[in-house]
């Protein structure tokens, strides 16, 4: 049997952003009717590679051939003309325009005196029928669900007669049901002779949807495998570069309390209070996990411990000292370190340099300022140390923070948080959106901090994470917290019931413990 013809050939693609090598001499081939999964951690260079293919970036070295013809670099127009369509992770759709406008823009000569909307609509509906992609052409994109937007993006590529479809992390924003429907669509497309590249860092998707998998690590192509001939363990090891072991917290004797909340209530201004009579103690050498469906007071708890909001009644104490209405800076000075829930919004300033972000909480420290002037030399030297110690992959302390991948941003925050031995670490969703390697790194660091004597308050919607790390677990529901239940004495089923508000089962758990 002959293999299907090659539709796309990438040869020796290299791309540098300043001193950072995002793609290092990558060569790949794609065949007609094939689904190729591009697997790799955040920052491995997957998206960069696809952006080069689609002409958003120009490669420094290497060439691309589509259907036997060389593809001119740096031109999305040329890529479209060659039959390459791309569905970006952050959709490139205009919210204020209709689906049809979004799809039709740029497909007609700009100097035509009138758009042929009727023909465009007919073609779109015909495509939608052929591939089973439901669409509402005249609806504004802003009114569509995320799944519908993705369908619109795929139709946009098909409308351009794409024969190669690139999908950048297509399932990141989808519900499990929407993902399954997307994979159905991909199968219909390949049955029609299209070739698909999809970028992912999720193992289960690779096995659900791909024929071939290419693994990228640190900008290099480390392996290409038939999906049927590999397994999760091998791929995970290729992706991360080493075998991953689950974290194993060593049993430690908790020390004195670092955080004590007694009867803390925070009103919301309307209806149910954000926090309702919360009692909680976190001790040194202890990780207390807050489980719960989001929106049950976790955010308020994090803001309270950060000093952003203050209790309306009840008291909060740090290391045995009562805290009045301390502001965030005061809390930092007292030894509270934060890993914020949203690293982009509340963690880092993307437009500022790495070193500036690293001293953002301590710029007034005499180590970093003299007579009100920043001691840049000292700050940079400190940044070098943190980058080294926390393995932040970046060109250097002067790099703009937004150039870093999600995992490296989180390492940067960890570095800022953990570098001076805090007493209490507030970790809100510390691994949300990170790949396996970065998750394992963050967990390891939190466990190290615990061993070094810090208390950790871990707020997470990921129950597996809490079960893997926490010494004690409490469940948040409607602004209240259950007593801290020792790890190992509570089952996943019981936690689920508590999360849903069935607190009547508490006595039996506490009695058993």
């Amino acid at each position: 049997m002959t293999s299907p013809p090659i539709v796309l050939r990438l040869s020796g693609i290299t791309k540098r952003f300043g001193p950072l090598v995002a793609n290092d001499s990558i060569s790949l081939t794609l065949h007609k009717g094939e689904v190729l999964a591009l697997l790799g951690e955040n920052g491995a260079g997957k998206t960069t590679l696809m952006n080069i293919l689609f002409g958003h970036y120009v490669a420094d070295e290497g060439s691309i051939e589509a259907f036997g013809q060389p593809l001119p670099p740096g031109s999305p127009r040329a890529a479209l003309a060659a039959g390459i369509g791309m569905v970006h992770q952050h959709f490139t759709l205009a919210d204020n325009l209709s689906v049809l406008d979004n799809i039709a823009v740029g497909t007609e000569s700009l100097w035509r005196p009138r758009s042929d909307r009727a023909a465009a609509k007919a073609k779109l509906l015909d495509l939608a029928r052929r591939f089973g992609l439901e669409v509402r052409p005249d609806t504004l994109v802003g009114d569509l669900s995320v799944g519908e937007r993705q369908r619109a993006e795929i139709l946009k590529a098909l409308y351009r007669d794409a024969r190669v479809l690139i999908l950048d992390e297509p399932t990141a924003v989808l519900t499990p049901q929407e993902s399954a429907s997307l994979f159905d669509t991909l199968r219909r497309l390949t049955a029609d002779g299209l070739a698909v590249v999809f970028i992912s860092h999720k193992m289960n998707e690779v096995f659900a949807a791909s024929d071939t998998v290419a693994v990228l690590r640190g900008g290099r192509l480390v392996a290409t495998r038939r999906t049927a001939e590999t397994d999760r363990e091998e791929l995970a090891e290729l992706m991360v570069g080493r075998a991953l072991k689950p974290p194993t917290p060593a049993p430690l004797e908790p020390g004195e309390p670092v955080l004590t909340l007694s009867g803390v209530t925070v009103a919301s201004g309307h209806g149910r209070p954000l926090l309702d009579g919360v009692d909680l103690t976190v001790r040194r050498r202890q990780i207390v996990g807050i489980a719960g469906v989001s929106g049950n007071g976790q955010t308020a708890l994090a803001e309270l411990v950060s000093g952003l909001i203050h209790p309306d009644s009840g008291t909060m104490a740090l290391k045995g000292e009562a805290i009045g209405n301390a502001e965030p800076a005061e809390m930092v000075r007292r030894g509270v370190a934060r890993i914020p829930e949203d690293r982009h919004a509340a963690g880092l300033v993307g437009a500022m340099a790495v070193w500036e972000n690293l001293i953002a909480e301590r710029y007034h420290d005499p180590a970093f300022q003299r007579f009100g002037l920043i001691r840049r030399g000292a700050a940079r030297a400190y940044a070098e140390e943190v980058i080294e110690a926390f393995d932040v992959r970046c060109p250097g302390p002067d790099a703009r923070t937004q150039l870093l991948s999600g995992g490296n941003m989180q390492k940067l925050i960890l570095g800022r948080t953990l570098a001076h031995g805090p007493d209490l670490i507030l970790a809100s969703q510390p691994t949300r959106g990170l790949d396996v390697g970065a998750v394992s790194y963050v967990h390891g660091r939190l466990l190290e901090a615990r061993a070094a004597g810090a208390g950790v308050l871990l707020i997470s919607e990921d129950l597996d994470e809490i079960l893997a790390l926490a010494d004690g677990i409490t469940v948040a529901h409607h602004g209240r917290l259950t007593p801290v239940l020792p790890h190992g004495r509570v089952s996943v089923r019981q936690l689920g019931l508590l999360m849903a508000g069935h607190w009547e089962i508490l006595p039996e758990i506490v009695d058993a413990a």
């Binding site: 970006h88 490139t92 919210d95 979004n102 740029g106 497909t107 100097w111 035509r112 009138r114 758009s115």
Partner: protein, 307 residues
């Protein structure tokens, strides 16, 4: 009660509506021009200077012997050139649209005065030209050709924006330039084109002042009309039809206050009446524009390949 009767009398007079259309014309043209720039994502604060430039250049061409329509064309070309300057600074170079726009206004204004003085160093009373005459039509329809041109241009801009591929491209680069790029469009070319065309329209607004409403060029004659156009664009929610409505409304307030000054000028200081159109337009902005869905990429420079 008496005031009410006075206002009613004014509103039913043909002379009032003639004035409204005349006063509205530069606002219609200027607002259309600004709207076109902003629809492509570029705020053009150069409007005041570009209008001054259009007023001077159009008038000067006619004063030097060109016919009126050639003067209009010269004004549009000069406006287009000023627009090209603003577009170069803000689109390929990606500079702050606010700063570049204010620079263009300062440059356009002073350059106009400079050229005027260079050609006419001595003139103490401004020399005049023979301007456009009102068409021989009944009542409020007796307007100069430039007013009719402005009304036609409203329809043209609306048609281009909503019915042609190039208009869709303009709206797309103003909403999501990355999406436009991904569809193979050149964001730079579309934005530069829209700013040049919009600026030409602004210059026509200026030319109307010297070739139609008056017959001479004098300093400070644009007198903040450009800034009003910026507000009218917001009032119009970036739609040409509503821009026409806004310009007419503003002109009606202005015409009304002029007449009220004559009637009630003895009782109330005239400055109060001068304030009226501006106060009312602020009020209209508050009421109408809060829900406006502005072009999402307005004032955001687009740099290709940036992440």
């Amino acid at each position: 009660m008496e005031l009410f009767q006075t206002i009613l009398d004014i509103l039913v007079s043909a002379a009032f509506w003639t004035a409204v259309l005349r006063i509205a014309t530069p606002y219609i043209l200027g607002t259309l021009g600004e709207l076109l720039c902003e629809r492509a994502g570029v705020l053009n604060l150069g409007i005041e200077g570009i209008m001054t430039m259009g007023a001077m250049a159009g008038w000067m061409a006619v004063y030097q012997g060109a016919d009126l329509w050639t003067g209009v064309l010269v004004a549009a070309l000069c406006g287009g050139l000023m627009g090209l300057l603003h577009a170069t600074l803000t689109v390929p170079l990606g500079l702050s649209q606010h700063v570049a726009g204010i620079g263009v206004t300062l440059l356009g204004t002073s350059l106009s005065y400079f050229v005027y003085r260079l050609v006419l160093p001595q003139a103490s009373t401004p020399p005049t030209v023979e301007p456009f005459q009102p068409l021989d039509l009944p009542g409020a329809l007796a307007q100069t050709p430039m007013t009719y041109m402005a009304l036609i241009l409203v329809a043209v801009v609306a048609y281009v924006l909503y019915r042609t591929p190039v208009g869709l491209a303009v709206r797309m680069v103003g909403e999501n330039p990355a999406a436009a790029e991904a569809q193979g469009l050149s964001v730079t070319a579309v934005r530069v084109g829209a700013v040049v065309a919009g600026s030409a329209l602004m210059a026509l607004a200026g030319a109307f002042l010297t070739l139609s409403a008056f017959n001479a060029f004098f300093f400070n004659m644009v007198n903040g009309r450009g800034w009003i156009c910026i507000a009218l664009v917001v009032f119009a929610s970036w739609r040409p039809g509503k821009a026409l409505l806004g310009a007419l409304l503003f002109a009606a307030f202005d015409a009304l206050q002029l007449r009220l000054q004559q009637v009630a000028g003895g009782v109330l200081p005239y400055q109060l009446f001068l304030m009226m159109p501006y106060l009312l337009s602020i009020l209209a902005l508050v009421l109408v524009a809060r829900r406006a869905s502005y072009p999402r990429a307005l004032m955001i420079p687009y740099r290709k390949g940036e992440r």
